[in-house]
Amino acid sequence: MTTPLWKRIVARVLQSLLALAFISPLIWVIVCSFSPQPGSAQSSGWGVANYLTLFGYQEGLPVYLLNSVIVSAISVVLSVVVCTLAGYSFSRFDYPGRNLGFMVTLSILMVPYASLLIPLMVWYKNIGLNDTLLGVGLVITLFQLPMSTFIMRNAFDAIPKDMEEAAMVDGCNSFQALLKILVPVVKPSMVTVGLLAFLEAWNNFMIPLYLSSSGKSTLPLAMVNMRQQTMGVIDYGATEAGVVVLLIPCAILFLALQKYYVKGFMAGAVKG
Protein backbone atom coordinates (compact mmCIF):
# COMPACT_ATOMS: atom_id res chain seq x y z
CA MET A 1 0.00 0.00 0.00
CA THR A 2 2.24 2.81 -1.18
CA THR A 3 0.98 6.30 -1.82
CA PRO A 4 1.18 7.31 -5.49
CA LEU A 5 4.05 9.60 -6.42
CA TRP A 6 1.92 12.62 -7.36
CA LYS A 7 0.16 12.52 -4.03
CA ARG A 8 3.47 12.52 -2.21
CA ILE A 9 4.69 15.46 -4.28
CA VAL A 10 1.54 17.46 -3.57
CA ALA A 11 1.90 16.67 0.13
CA ARG A 12 5.52 17.78 0.12
CA VAL A 13 4.67 21.06 -1.61
CA LEU A 14 1.84 21.82 0.83
CA GLN A 15 4.01 20.92 3.80
CA SER A 16 6.80 23.16 2.52
CA LEU A 17 4.39 26.07 2.17
CA LEU A 18 3.15 25.52 5.70
CA ALA A 19 6.68 25.40 7.07
CA LEU A 20 7.49 28.55 5.13
CA ALA A 21 4.49 30.32 6.68
CA PHE A 22 5.96 29.59 10.10
CA ILE A 23 9.49 30.73 9.46
CA SER A 24 8.87 33.58 7.00
CA PRO A 25 8.14 36.21 9.71
CA LEU A 26 11.51 35.39 11.28
CA ILE A 27 13.33 35.66 7.97
CA TRP A 28 11.42 38.85 7.14
CA VAL A 29 12.43 40.63 10.33
CA ILE A 30 16.09 39.67 10.00
CA VAL A 31 16.25 40.84 6.38
CA CYS A 32 14.32 44.07 7.07
CA SER A 33 16.51 45.03 10.01
CA PHE A 34 19.43 45.38 7.56
CA SER A 35 17.53 46.59 4.50
CA PRO A 36 16.94 50.20 3.39
CA GLN A 37 13.65 51.64 4.67
CA PRO A 38 12.31 55.19 4.58
CA GLY A 39 11.74 56.60 8.06
CA SER A 40 14.44 54.52 9.71
CA ALA A 41 18.13 55.13 10.29
CA GLN A 42 18.88 52.83 7.37
CA SER A 43 17.17 54.96 4.72
CA SER A 44 19.30 53.90 1.75
CA GLY A 45 21.52 50.93 1.04
CA TRP A 46 22.03 47.92 3.29
CA GLY A 47 23.76 48.19 6.62
CA VAL A 48 23.64 48.15 10.40
CA ALA A 49 22.37 51.71 11.02
CA ASN A 50 19.26 50.38 12.79
CA TYR A 51 21.45 48.55 15.27
CA LEU A 52 23.48 51.71 15.83
CA THR A 53 20.23 53.56 16.62
CA LEU A 54 19.59 51.01 19.34
CA PHE A 55 22.97 51.82 20.86
CA GLY A 56 22.02 55.48 21.09
CA TYR A 57 18.47 55.07 22.41
CA GLN A 58 18.12 56.55 25.92
CA GLU A 59 20.41 54.56 28.21
CA GLY A 60 21.65 52.67 25.17
CA LEU A 61 21.39 49.07 24.10
CA PRO A 62 24.35 47.88 26.24
CA VAL A 63 22.59 48.96 29.45
CA TYR A 64 19.35 47.13 28.59
CA LEU A 65 21.27 44.14 27.37
CA LEU A 66 23.23 44.06 30.62
CA ASN A 67 20.00 44.41 32.64
CA SER A 68 18.54 41.45 30.76
CA VAL A 69 21.69 39.40 31.28
CA ILE A 70 21.77 40.17 35.01
CA VAL A 71 18.08 39.33 35.52
CA SER A 72 18.55 36.12 33.50
CA ALA A 73 21.66 35.14 35.49
CA ILE A 74 19.92 35.74 38.82
CA SER A 75 16.89 33.72 37.72
CA VAL A 76 18.93 30.83 36.32
CA VAL A 77 21.27 30.52 39.30
CA LEU A 78 18.51 30.90 41.89
CA SER A 79 16.14 28.50 40.10
CA VAL A 80 18.78 25.82 39.71
CA VAL A 81 20.07 26.10 43.29
CA VAL A 82 16.74 26.49 45.09
CA CYS A 83 14.95 23.80 43.06
CA THR A 84 17.81 21.30 43.27
CA LEU A 85 17.96 21.66 47.06
CA ALA A 86 14.17 21.55 47.39
CA GLY A 87 13.93 18.55 45.06
CA TYR A 88 16.61 16.79 47.12
CA SER A 89 14.72 17.55 50.32
CA PHE A 90 11.33 16.42 49.01
CA SER A 91 12.75 13.26 47.40
CA ARG A 92 15.32 12.01 49.89
CA PHE A 93 14.33 13.04 53.40
CA ASP A 94 11.39 11.73 55.32
CA TYR A 95 10.11 14.33 57.75
CA PRO A 96 6.86 15.92 58.88
CA GLY A 97 6.02 18.83 56.59
CA ARG A 98 7.67 17.36 53.52
CA ASN A 99 4.47 16.80 51.60
CA LEU A 100 3.14 20.15 52.77
CA GLY A 101 6.25 21.85 51.39
CA PHE A 102 5.88 20.13 48.05
CA MET A 103 2.16 20.86 47.78
CA VAL A 104 2.63 24.52 48.71
CA THR A 105 5.38 24.82 46.09
CA LEU A 106 3.10 23.30 43.46
CA SER A 107 0.23 25.57 44.50
CA ILE A 108 2.11 28.54 43.03
CA LEU A 109 0.93 27.15 39.68
CA MET A 110 -2.64 27.96 40.61
CA VAL A 111 -1.91 31.66 41.05
CA PRO A 112 -1.25 33.73 37.93
CA TYR A 113 1.55 36.24 38.43
CA ALA A 114 -0.61 38.86 36.76
CA SER A 115 -2.71 38.99 39.92
CA LEU A 116 0.24 39.37 42.30
CA LEU A 117 2.12 42.21 40.62
CA ILE A 118 0.09 45.02 42.24
CA PRO A 119 0.79 43.87 45.84
CA LEU A 120 4.37 42.90 44.91
CA MET A 121 4.95 46.45 43.71
CA VAL A 122 3.84 47.86 47.08
CA TRP A 123 5.65 45.15 49.09
CA TYR A 124 8.90 45.76 47.20
CA LYS A 125 8.74 49.45 48.12
CA ASN A 126 8.60 48.43 51.77
CA ILE A 127 11.56 46.07 51.65
CA GLY A 128 13.71 48.18 49.35
CA LEU A 129 13.54 45.87 46.34
CA ASN A 130 11.51 48.22 44.15
CA ASP A 131 13.17 49.06 40.86
CA THR A 132 16.00 46.57 41.35
CA LEU A 133 17.09 43.86 38.96
CA LEU A 134 17.29 41.46 41.91
CA GLY A 135 13.62 42.07 42.63
CA VAL A 136 12.61 41.21 39.06
CA GLY A 137 14.84 38.10 39.09
CA LEU A 138 13.31 36.94 42.38
CA VAL A 139 9.73 37.15 41.11
CA ILE A 140 10.64 35.32 37.92
CA THR A 141 12.35 32.62 40.00
CA LEU A 142 9.33 32.30 42.28
CA PHE A 143 7.10 31.41 39.36
CA GLN A 144 9.68 28.89 38.10
CA LEU A 145 9.61 27.06 41.44
CA PRO A 146 6.62 24.75 41.01
CA MET A 147 7.54 23.28 37.64
CA SER A 148 11.26 23.15 38.31
CA THR A 149 11.00 21.67 41.80
CA PHE A 150 8.72 19.06 40.27
CA ILE A 151 11.32 18.28 37.60
CA MET A 152 14.13 18.04 40.16
CA ARG A 153 12.18 15.88 42.59
CA ASN A 154 11.38 13.44 39.80
CA ALA A 155 15.05 13.40 38.80
CA PHE A 156 16.11 12.50 42.35
CA ASP A 157 13.31 9.94 42.66
CA ALA A 158 14.71 8.11 39.63
CA ILE A 159 18.08 7.47 41.34
CA PRO A 160 18.34 4.36 43.55
CA LYS A 161 18.93 5.25 47.20
CA ASP A 162 21.94 2.92 47.64
CA MET A 163 24.05 5.30 45.62
CA GLU A 164 24.34 8.00 48.22
CA GLU A 165 23.95 5.57 51.12
CA ALA A 166 27.18 3.94 50.04
CA ALA A 167 28.82 7.34 49.96
CA MET A 168 27.49 8.19 53.43
CA VAL A 169 28.87 4.95 54.84
CA ASP A 170 32.22 6.10 53.46
CA GLY A 171 31.92 9.20 55.62
CA CYS A 172 30.28 11.75 53.34
CA ASN A 173 27.64 13.98 54.88
CA SER A 174 24.38 14.51 53.02
CA PHE A 175 25.58 17.69 51.33
CA GLN A 176 28.78 16.07 50.06
CA ALA A 177 26.74 13.13 48.82
CA LEU A 178 24.50 15.55 46.95
CA LEU A 179 27.39 17.42 45.36
CA LYS A 180 29.64 14.48 44.51
CA ILE A 181 27.24 11.63 43.78
CA LEU A 182 23.80 12.99 42.90
CA VAL A 183 24.43 16.26 41.06
CA PRO A 184 26.38 14.58 38.23
CA VAL A 185 23.41 12.24 37.70
CA VAL A 186 20.68 14.90 37.74
CA LYS A 187 22.66 17.38 35.65
CA PRO A 188 20.42 17.02 32.56
CA SER A 189 17.39 18.01 34.63
CA MET A 190 19.34 20.95 36.06
CA VAL A 191 20.09 22.09 32.50
CA THR A 192 16.37 21.91 31.69
CA VAL A 193 15.53 23.93 34.81
CA GLY A 194 18.16 26.53 33.93
CA LEU A 195 16.98 26.73 30.32
CA LEU A 196 13.35 27.26 31.37
CA ALA A 197 14.43 29.99 33.79
CA PHE A 198 16.59 31.71 31.18
CA LEU A 199 13.82 31.78 28.58
CA GLU A 200 11.34 33.17 31.07
CA ALA A 201 13.71 35.82 32.38
CA TRP A 202 14.95 36.85 28.94
CA ASN A 203 11.50 37.14 27.44
CA ASN A 204 9.27 38.21 30.29
CA PHE A 205 7.67 41.57 29.66
CA MET A 206 4.96 42.04 32.25
CA ILE A 207 7.00 41.60 35.45
CA PRO A 208 9.58 44.31 34.58
CA LEU A 209 6.73 46.48 33.27
CA TYR A 210 5.28 46.61 36.79
CA LEU A 211 8.48 46.51 38.82
CA SER A 212 11.14 48.43 36.83
CA SER A 213 11.71 52.05 35.85
CA SER A 214 13.18 52.88 32.46
CA GLY A 215 16.80 52.78 33.64
CA LYS A 216 16.33 49.27 35.00
CA SER A 217 14.35 48.00 31.98
CA THR A 218 15.14 44.66 30.53
CA LEU A 219 15.40 44.43 26.76
CA PRO A 220 11.78 43.50 25.88
CA LEU A 221 10.44 46.36 28.01
CA ALA A 222 12.95 48.82 26.57
CA MET A 223 12.00 47.81 23.02
CA VAL A 224 8.29 48.34 23.69
CA ASN A 225 8.94 51.69 25.40
CA MET A 226 11.15 52.86 22.57
CA ARG A 227 8.34 52.24 20.12
CA GLN A 228 5.90 54.28 22.17
CA GLN A 229 8.09 57.24 23.00
CA THR A 230 9.08 58.41 19.56
CA MET A 231 6.19 60.90 19.41
CA GLY A 232 3.89 59.30 16.90
CA VAL A 233 6.64 58.56 14.42
CA ILE A 234 7.65 54.98 14.99
CA ASP A 235 11.12 53.89 13.99
CA TYR A 236 10.27 50.45 12.67
CA GLY A 237 13.86 49.82 11.62
CA ALA A 238 15.04 50.06 15.21
CA THR A 239 12.12 47.92 16.39
CA GLU A 240 13.06 45.21 13.89
CA ALA A 241 16.69 45.35 14.99
CA GLY A 242 15.55 45.04 18.62
CA VAL A 243 13.44 42.00 17.80
CA VAL A 244 16.45 40.36 16.13
CA VAL A 245 18.62 41.05 19.19
CA LEU A 246 15.93 39.48 21.37
CA LEU A 247 15.57 36.46 19.10
CA ILE A 248 19.21 35.52 18.66
CA PRO A 249 19.94 33.90 22.04
CA CYS A 250 16.59 32.08 22.02
CA ALA A 251 17.14 30.71 18.53
CA ILE A 252 20.71 29.61 19.30
CA LEU A 253 19.67 27.92 22.54
CA PHE A 254 16.74 26.31 20.78
CA LEU A 255 18.86 24.84 18.01
CA ALA A 256 21.69 23.80 20.37
CA LEU A 257 19.57 22.38 23.18
CA GLN A 258 16.50 21.01 21.39
CA LYS A 259 16.65 17.86 23.47
CA TYR A 260 16.34 19.82 26.72
CA TYR A 261 13.59 21.96 25.26
CA VAL A 262 11.51 18.91 24.54
CA LYS A 263 12.23 17.61 28.02
CA GLY A 264 11.12 20.87 29.54
CA PHE A 265 7.91 20.88 27.53
CA MET A 266 7.27 17.30 28.50
CA ALA A 267 7.78 18.11 32.16
CA GLY A 268 5.18 20.78 31.68
CA ALA A 269 2.90 18.22 30.15
CA VAL A 270 2.79 16.10 33.28
CA LYS A 271 2.45 18.93 35.74
CA GLY A 272 -1.27 18.36 36.32
Partner: protein
Protein backbone atom coordinates in the same frame (compact mmCIF):
# COMPACT_ATOMS: atom_id res chain seq x y z
CA UNK B 1 21.30 -6.38 79.69
CA UNK B 2 19.05 -6.93 76.69
CA UNK B 3 16.71 -4.22 77.97
CA UNK B 4 19.50 -1.63 77.74
CA UNK B 5 20.22 -2.30 74.12
CA UNK B 6 16.50 -2.29 73.44
CA UNK B 7 16.29 1.18 74.93
CA UNK B 8 19.31 2.38 72.98
CA UNK B 9 17.96 1.45 69.58
CA UNK B 10 14.83 3.62 69.64
CA UNK B 11 16.86 6.46 71.05
CA UNK B 12 19.33 6.25 68.19
CA UNK B 13 16.42 5.94 65.81
CA UNK B 14 14.73 9.04 67.13
CA UNK B 15 18.02 10.89 66.98
CA UNK B 16 18.37 9.81 63.37
CA UNK B 17 14.83 10.96 62.73
CA UNK B 18 15.52 14.35 64.23
CA UNK B 19 18.61 14.66 62.04
CA UNK B 20 16.55 13.69 58.99
CA UNK B 21 13.97 16.32 59.81
CA UNK B 22 16.62 18.96 60.40
CA UNK B 23 18.43 18.23 57.15
CA UNK B 24 15.24 17.91 55.14
CA UNK B 25 13.97 21.25 56.37
CA UNK B 26 17.35 22.86 55.84
CA UNK B 27 17.44 21.87 52.15
CA UNK B 28 13.87 23.07 51.67
CA UNK B 29 14.57 26.33 53.50
CA UNK B 30 15.40 28.53 50.45
CA UNK B 31 12.23 27.27 48.79
CA UNK B 32 10.16 28.08 51.87
CA UNK B 33 11.80 31.47 52.33
CA UNK B 34 10.93 32.51 48.78
CA UNK B 35 7.38 31.23 49.12
CA UNK B 36 6.74 33.03 52.40
CA UNK B 37 8.37 36.33 51.43
CA UNK B 38 7.29 36.58 47.79
CA UNK B 39 4.12 34.51 47.66
CA UNK B 40 2.30 34.44 51.02
CA UNK B 41 3.00 38.07 51.92
CA UNK B 42 1.86 39.46 48.53
CA UNK B 43 -1.31 37.34 48.64
CA UNK B 44 -2.10 38.69 52.11
CA UNK B 45 -1.32 42.19 50.92
CA UNK B 46 -3.56 41.66 47.90
CA UNK B 47 -6.52 41.00 50.22
CA UNK B 48 -5.74 44.07 52.30
CA UNK B 49 -5.30 46.31 49.27
CA UNK B 50 -8.49 45.05 47.64
CA UNK B 51 -10.36 46.18 50.75
CA UNK B 52 -8.60 49.53 51.16
CA UNK B 53 -8.66 53.00 49.70
CA UNK B 54 -5.25 52.86 48.06
CA UNK B 55 -4.36 55.27 45.28
CA UNK B 56 -1.25 55.09 43.13
CA UNK B 57 0.19 58.33 44.52
CA UNK B 58 -1.47 58.61 47.92
CA UNK B 59 -0.86 55.11 49.24
CA UNK B 60 -2.95 53.42 51.92
CA UNK B 61 -5.83 55.50 53.33
CA UNK B 62 -7.58 52.83 55.38
CA UNK B 63 -10.19 50.14 54.82
CA UNK B 64 -13.16 50.82 52.58
CA UNK B 65 -14.59 47.37 51.85
CA UNK B 66 -16.54 46.80 49.62
CA UNK B 67 -16.12 50.07 47.72
CA UNK B 68 -13.34 48.81 45.42
CA UNK B 69 -15.35 45.79 44.36
CA UNK B 70 -18.44 47.90 43.70
CA UNK B 71 -16.34 50.32 41.64
CA UNK B 72 -14.96 47.40 39.61
CA UNK B 73 -18.40 45.88 39.02
CA UNK B 74 -19.87 49.23 38.05
CA UNK B 75 -17.08 50.06 35.61
CA UNK B 76 -18.43 49.64 32.10
CA UNK B 77 -15.15 48.14 30.90
CA UNK B 78 -15.41 45.28 33.41
CA UNK B 79 -18.18 43.33 31.70
CA UNK B 80 -16.91 44.29 28.26
CA UNK B 81 -13.39 43.03 29.00
CA UNK B 82 -14.69 39.73 30.37
CA UNK B 83 -16.74 39.15 27.25
CA UNK B 84 -13.82 40.07 25.02
CA UNK B 85 -11.41 37.82 26.95
CA UNK B 86 -13.83 34.91 26.67
CA UNK B 87 -14.34 35.47 22.94
CA UNK B 88 -10.58 35.56 22.44
CA UNK B 89 -10.09 32.46 24.59
CA UNK B 90 -12.64 30.40 22.67
CA UNK B 91 -11.24 31.32 19.24
CA UNK B 92 -7.58 30.84 20.21
CA UNK B 93 -8.29 27.51 21.90
CA UNK B 94 -10.11 26.10 18.89
CA UNK B 95 -7.37 27.18 16.48
CA UNK B 96 -4.48 25.97 18.62
CA UNK B 97 -5.99 22.58 19.40
CA UNK B 98 -6.95 21.85 15.79
CA UNK B 99 -3.65 23.10 14.40
CA UNK B 100 -1.61 21.42 17.11
CA UNK B 101 -3.19 18.05 16.43
CA UNK B 102 -3.05 18.56 12.65
CA UNK B 103 0.63 19.44 12.66
CA UNK B 104 1.40 16.55 15.02
CA UNK B 105 -0.30 14.12 12.61
CA UNK B 106 1.76 15.50 9.72
CA UNK B 107 5.16 15.17 11.39
CA UNK B 108 4.39 12.22 13.63
CA UNK B 109 6.56 9.66 11.83
CA UNK B 110 10.24 10.19 12.28
CA UNK B 111 12.12 10.97 9.08
CA UNK B 112 14.67 13.51 7.95
CA UNK B 113 12.05 15.57 6.15
CA UNK B 114 9.69 15.50 9.13
CA UNK B 115 12.49 16.61 11.44
CA UNK B 116 13.01 19.67 9.26
CA UNK B 117 9.27 20.39 9.36
CA UNK B 118 9.18 19.97 13.14
CA UNK B 119 12.01 22.43 13.59
CA UNK B 120 10.25 24.97 11.36
CA UNK B 121 6.98 24.65 13.28
CA UNK B 122 8.74 24.81 16.65
CA UNK B 123 11.07 27.70 15.95
CA UNK B 124 8.44 30.41 16.64
CA UNK B 125 7.82 28.78 20.04
CA UNK B 126 11.38 29.67 20.95
CA UNK B 127 10.63 33.39 20.65
CA UNK B 128 9.29 35.40 23.56
CA UNK B 129 5.69 36.53 23.46
CA UNK B 130 6.74 40.19 23.67
CA UNK B 131 9.25 39.85 20.82
CA UNK B 132 6.73 37.94 18.72
CA UNK B 133 4.19 40.72 19.29
CA UNK B 134 6.72 43.39 18.36
CA UNK B 135 7.66 41.45 15.24
CA UNK B 136 4.05 41.31 14.09
CA UNK B 137 3.55 44.94 15.08
CA UNK B 138 6.12 45.76 12.42
CA UNK B 139 4.59 43.25 9.98
CA UNK B 140 1.16 44.88 10.39
CA UNK B 141 2.40 48.45 10.08
CA UNK B 142 1.24 50.20 6.92
CA UNK B 143 4.67 51.89 6.56
CA UNK B 144 7.03 48.91 6.45
CA UNK B 145 4.95 45.75 6.75
CA UNK B 146 3.77 43.67 3.80
CA UNK B 147 0.36 42.84 5.30
CA UNK B 148 -1.32 46.14 4.43
CA UNK B 149 0.18 46.10 0.93
CA UNK B 150 -1.02 42.56 0.26
CA UNK B 151 -4.52 43.17 1.61
CA UNK B 152 -4.96 46.45 -0.23
CA UNK B 153 -3.69 44.83 -3.44
CA UNK B 154 -6.62 42.43 -3.23
CA UNK B 155 -8.93 45.31 -2.43
CA UNK B 156 -9.61 44.07 1.08
CA UNK B 157 -8.29 47.19 2.73
CA UNK B 158 -7.53 50.87 2.18
CA UNK B 159 -4.02 51.73 1.19
CA UNK B 160 -2.18 53.02 4.25
CA UNK B 161 -4.75 51.48 6.61
CA UNK B 162 -3.78 49.15 9.43
CA UNK B 163 -5.27 45.83 10.44
CA UNK B 164 -5.00 47.06 14.02
CA UNK B 165 -7.32 50.01 13.33
CA UNK B 166 -10.65 48.26 13.95
CA UNK B 167 -11.53 46.07 16.91
CA UNK B 168 -12.54 43.00 14.94
CA UNK B 169 -9.52 42.93 12.64
CA UNK B 170 -7.20 43.72 15.57
CA UNK B 171 -8.60 40.68 17.39
CA UNK B 172 -7.85 38.42 14.44
CA UNK B 173 -4.45 39.99 13.88
CA UNK B 174 -3.59 39.20 17.50
CA UNK B 175 -4.93 35.66 17.20
CA UNK B 176 -2.60 35.11 14.24
CA UNK B 177 0.38 36.13 16.42
CA UNK B 178 -0.64 33.67 19.12
CA UNK B 179 -1.35 30.86 16.67
CA UNK B 180 2.03 31.45 15.02
CA UNK B 181 3.83 31.55 18.36
CA UNK B 182 2.12 28.58 20.07
CA UNK B 183 1.11 26.05 17.36
CA UNK B 184 4.48 24.31 17.52
CA UNK B 185 4.25 24.00 21.28
CA UNK B 186 0.85 22.31 21.09
CA UNK B 187 2.11 20.16 18.21
CA UNK B 188 4.83 18.87 20.54
CA UNK B 189 2.36 18.11 23.34
CA UNK B 190 0.07 16.31 20.88
CA UNK B 191 3.01 14.34 19.45
CA UNK B 192 3.86 13.04 22.89
CA UNK B 193 0.26 11.89 23.20
CA UNK B 194 0.28 10.26 19.75
CA UNK B 195 3.46 8.36 20.50
CA UNK B 196 1.81 6.75 23.50
CA UNK B 197 -0.81 5.08 21.29
CA UNK B 198 0.35 1.50 20.63
CA UNK B 199 1.02 0.80 16.95
CA UNK B 200 -0.80 -2.55 16.93
CA UNK B 201 -4.09 -0.69 17.40
CA UNK B 202 -3.64 1.02 14.05
CA UNK B 203 -2.53 -2.28 12.55
CA UNK B 204 -5.63 -4.05 13.82
CA UNK B 205 -7.95 -1.28 12.63
CA UNK B 206 -6.35 -1.40 9.17
CA UNK B 207 -6.74 -5.19 9.07
CA UNK B 208 -10.44 -4.69 9.78
CA UNK B 209 -10.56 -2.51 6.68
CA UNK B 210 -10.88 0.89 8.34
CA UNK B 211 -9.93 3.91 6.23
CA UNK B 212 -7.74 6.82 7.34
CA UNK B 213 -10.63 8.97 8.49
CA UNK B 214 -12.28 6.09 10.32
CA UNK B 215 -9.03 5.24 12.10
CA UNK B 216 -8.64 8.87 13.13
CA UNK B 217 -12.15 9.03 14.51
CA UNK B 218 -12.31 5.65 16.19
CA UNK B 219 -8.73 5.08 17.32
CA UNK B 220 -6.74 8.32 17.45
CA UNK B 221 -9.32 10.74 18.83
CA UNK B 222 -10.60 8.62 21.73
CA UNK B 223 -7.10 7.63 22.81
CA UNK B 224 -5.90 11.22 22.51
CA UNK B 225 -8.61 12.50 24.83
CA UNK B 226 -6.38 12.93 27.91
CA UNK B 227 -3.79 14.83 25.87
CA UNK B 228 -6.44 17.01 24.25
CA UNK B 229 -8.00 17.81 27.62
CA UNK B 230 -4.59 18.74 28.98
CA UNK B 231 -3.89 21.05 26.01
CA UNK B 232 -7.34 22.55 26.48
CA UNK B 233 -6.48 23.37 30.09
CA UNK B 234 -3.23 25.09 29.17
CA UNK B 235 -4.79 26.98 26.36
CA UNK B 236 -7.78 28.24 28.33
CA UNK B 237 -5.80 29.32 31.39
CA UNK B 238 -3.13 30.94 29.23
CA UNK B 239 -5.64 32.83 27.09
CA UNK B 240 -7.70 34.11 30.01
CA UNK B 241 -4.54 35.82 31.27
CA UNK B 242 -3.72 37.39 27.87
CA UNK B 243 -1.77 40.60 28.32
CA UNK B 244 1.53 41.09 26.45
CA UNK B 245 0.15 40.58 22.95
CA UNK B 246 -2.72 43.08 23.34
CA UNK B 247 -0.69 45.54 25.36
CA UNK B 248 1.94 45.67 22.62
CA UNK B 249 -0.26 45.42 19.52
CA UNK B 250 -3.34 47.44 20.43
CA UNK B 251 -2.94 48.76 24.00
CA UNK B 252 -6.56 47.73 24.43
CA UNK B 253 -7.71 49.96 21.61
CA UNK B 254 -9.23 51.05 19.37
CA UNK B 255 -11.76 52.48 21.80
CA UNK B 256 -11.06 49.84 24.47
CA UNK B 257 -12.50 47.19 22.15
CA UNK B 258 -9.57 44.80 22.71
CA UNK B 259 -9.25 45.31 26.46
CA UNK B 260 -8.66 42.01 28.26
CA UNK B 261 -9.29 41.52 31.97
CA UNK B 262 -5.60 41.46 32.90
CA UNK B 263 -5.04 44.61 30.87
CA UNK B 264 -7.84 46.24 32.80
CA UNK B 265 -5.87 45.65 36.01
CA UNK B 266 -3.02 47.65 34.54
CA UNK B 267 -5.45 50.24 33.22
CA UNK B 268 -7.06 50.76 36.66
CA UNK B 269 -3.66 51.00 38.33
CA UNK B 270 -1.80 53.32 35.96
CA UNK B 271 -4.08 54.79 33.29
CA UNK B 272 -7.73 55.53 33.84
CA UNK B 273 -8.12 55.44 37.65
CA UNK B 274 -4.62 55.42 39.15
CA UNK B 275 -6.27 53.39 41.87
CA UNK B 276 -4.31 50.44 43.27
CA UNK B 277 -7.24 49.42 45.45
CA UNK B 278 -9.47 48.86 42.42
CA UNK B 279 -6.63 47.15 40.57
CA UNK B 280 -6.09 44.86 43.57
CA UNK B 281 -9.81 44.09 43.77
CA UNK B 282 -9.83 43.06 40.10
CA UNK B 283 -6.57 41.09 40.61
CA UNK B 284 -8.22 39.23 43.45
CA UNK B 285 -11.23 38.42 41.28
CA UNK B 286 -8.91 37.10 38.55
CA UNK B 287 -6.98 35.05 41.12
CA UNK B 288 -10.13 33.50 42.57
CA UNK B 289 -11.50 32.74 39.10
CA UNK B 290 -8.25 31.07 38.04
CA UNK B 291 -7.96 29.02 41.24
CA UNK B 292 -11.52 27.76 40.72
CA UNK B 293 -10.89 26.95 37.05
CA UNK B 294 -7.61 25.20 37.90
CA UNK B 295 -9.22 23.17 40.66
CA UNK B 296 -12.04 22.01 38.39
CA UNK B 297 -9.62 21.15 35.61
CA UNK B 298 -7.23 19.28 37.87
CA UNK B 299 -10.09 17.18 39.16
CA UNK B 300 -11.16 16.53 35.57
CA UNK B 301 -7.64 15.49 34.58
CA UNK B 302 -7.30 13.16 37.54
CA UNK B 303 -10.51 11.41 36.52
CA UNK B 304 -9.21 11.15 32.99
CA UNK B 305 -5.98 9.43 33.92
CA UNK B 306 -7.79 6.81 35.98
Amino acid sequence: MPSVSKGAVPERKSKARAAQTRRGLLYALPDWAMIVLLFFVPIALLFIMACSRWSLMGGNRGLNFPDNFIAVFENKLFGQSILFTLEYTVIVTIFLLVLGLGLALIVQESSKWNNVLRTCFLLPSATGLASASLLFYALYSPQVGPVTKILSFFGLMDQGGSVLATGQSALWATIIVIVWRFSGYYMLLMMIGLQAIPGDLYEAARMDGAGTWRIFRSVTLPLMKPTIVMCLVYCVTGSILAFDQFFILTKGGPNNSTMTVVQLIYNFAFDSKKDLGMAAALSLLVLVALVIINAIQMRGMRDNTK
